[in-house]
Subunit: 213 residues, 4 copies
DNA sequence: TTGTAATCGAGACGGTACGTCCAGTCTTTAG
DNA sequence: CTAAAGACTGGACGTACCGTCTCGATTACAA
């Protein structure tokens, strides 16, 4: 996560824990106010009441700092049991959309993804800190649906994994695209339509013969 | 598209048309070599054999220039008739994925989207120059499928439009997410799985009772 | 004075004589408003209602244009016969000082002199257009004084010329220095003190034994 | 002298003293090589092995930097006791002329004076850094001459001050005008003629009745 | 208690890019 | 052939941030 292990040696003054919190909060605030490209390290330092040096002691640069600052936002996503797969799916779509309404999330997510197209280390960091952690939602949803009998239990482990990845890309991708690129609202109506499409597709995909009808 | 209308008056030296081409080409080349964040206006000017002033006379800034430079790439997408809706869909998915493999496209697309989260004018520009123009692929595909009898003709105009938007967000979003965020290959296997999901979902959505089974 | 002789050919649209006047006036106005370093050719052209091209057709550059524009100011200096050498001298000192009060003169004179330290052609131009033409005042004053019997007629031609040069440098130099460098007023009192010093010095210089007493 | 007081607070990295020296030396070198108008801040920075930022941190602009850079040259002027007022005067004239032969001095002096005609702050800076400091030469010369009995001791303090100012303007003005405007050499012969004129004038001015003879 | 060592704020440092401005040239249409 | 308009190349301007560095001053743990 950070540049240098915070507990490298033992002696010396320990790093301030408050500083960490203040810096990450300041980063999110700066993102809201300024957006990605106008955000500067100096500004974050000033907001956090901290010296620029302190930032660079803990993070390698703007990208890394922002990834850490926004990663925590994505952990807020939850999957309360709403009784059916359709309800669960629709709920998580709306939750995710609400998250993307927050300026710090929308601007930061796209920006770090853009940066990551040229930076392998950053890409890895994003996947570990943000992407992979949210796959749990898909897995958890499927497990519940299987327990309810809405979905068959998969025999082939790797096929199951591939399907989970596919669903994750479809859900996350569609919501992001609708919200950030098309710039249209992800409201309940859209979420319902999307869920119908998704679950219908899943059902079709799990049938042996690909006869659409 | 440009900052100042090029044909404002009549007198005076007209703007060089070659310069425009050279600049846009140089921009794409610079994107490939340097990526978004390292790309500089000076560098583009030098590559294009043009003065920096000339860039700023025609585009307001880096963002606007890059949008115009990459917009043309997306016009390459085509929808040759492959005989069935499934084949058509799979074809366009693979085409789009191939486009996103090109460094200038992947880095530029995400970067301008990121910038657009804070800039209404830029967002509009992106939609006009890139997004809306590609919806034609969805509409064309549906028209053909209806002619073939694979899809029913829609009575409700606005519902049809909403469905087209949904499909567009799902397709574009899923491919982008798979390619840029998950950083996994969009190969034929994935395209087939995705198409099955999509068409199955469409079929389910067009059926009256939403009974997932 | 100008780049190209104005009556070079015969055919085509003749050069506007008004333009010349307008340009030189605009140059002086711009000098007053902006000073030397902020004065731009574009601005002069705009003020004169003339294209930049026209400026460059007639003058080689900023320096040459400004020299011509201010040279005319120095031709206003006159030497009306005030009855005595002392009165004549004091009169010309005050006239010169009044000229240096005008912003276009003070700023332009020093600026072109500064430029001329690196530019032989400009130095020559300044001497021809400004400096040498004012020596007439010294020569005329001496002639009158000799006619009045206030000064002896010089036998040695070259010594007479050297003395005239010396006086010119002393008068012009002292007034310029007082006005522009020391930034103190050249009023009647100062002019009187200076004249006493100058004429006393001249008298001493024309005596054989240099015994200061 | 500088933009920001160098000893503003106490904290933070102190300014490099070497940088100051290197910058001023580089400025003088650039003046010699390029002259005033071709001198650029970037070039000075490069010569001094310093970032452009560092220049702007310490000086507000080209003018201020050059004033400081050349001011030191004028401090080289001295007034060794040559035994008589005439010898002392002639000596200082030749010293000053030698200084004005140096390209960095001639070009810089006129240029900053020219700029100062529009800039009150710059005028003040020049007077403090350059002009006023050289009046010491006049005062010292007079003191010595009075001790030698060559000049009477002045009763009226303010008249004495006015006379000193007059002499200063005459000497500095004449030498500058001869050297830079007339562009003639200030050699020993001229210096002797000038000294005779000056001292003769002084003697005349100190006599009560203005009867030249 | 006294090192010792890593921390802290502050701010100067060398760089790099920005977006603007101007000099001087070139290319058009109009007269 | 000249005028006016304005686009062109080239390069300096002064500003802003970057990420590094050098300070003097704190803090903690270890001897």
């Amino acid at each position: 996560m950070r540049r240098t292990p915070p507990c490298a040696g033992r002696k010396g003054r320990p790093r301030s824990a408050e500083a960490d919190t203040a810096i990450l909060e300041a980063t999110r605030a700066a993102l809201v106010d300024l957006g990605w490209s106008k955000l500067t390290m100096s500004d974050v330092a000033a907001r956090a009441g901290v010296a620029k040096t302190t930032l660079y002691r803990r993070w390698a640069g703007k990208n890394e700092l922002v990834v850490d600052a926004v990663a925590i936002l994505f952990d807020e996503l939850e999957l309360p049991d709403r009784g059916s797969l359709a309800e669960d799916a629709q709920g998580v779509v709306l939750q995710f959309a609400a998250l993307l309404e927050r300026p710090e999330a929308r601007t930061a997510l796209m920006a770090v993804v853009a940066e990551s197209t040229r930076d392998e280390a950053l890409r890895t960091r994003i996947r570990h800190a943000i992407v992979d952690r949210q796959k749990r939602l898909v897995l958890e949803g499927r497990r519940r649906a299987q327990e309810r009998g809405e979905l068959p239990r998969e025999a082939d482990e790797s096929a199951a994994s591939r399907t989970a990845d596919l669903i994750f890309d479809v859900v996350a991708g569609a919501v992001v695209h609708r919200s950030l690129v098309s710039a249209e609202p992800v409201d309940e109506e859209w979420a319902r339509s999307f869920t119908v499409l998704l679950l219908g597709g899943l059902a079709a995909a799990s049938r042996p013969a690909p006869s659409a009808g």
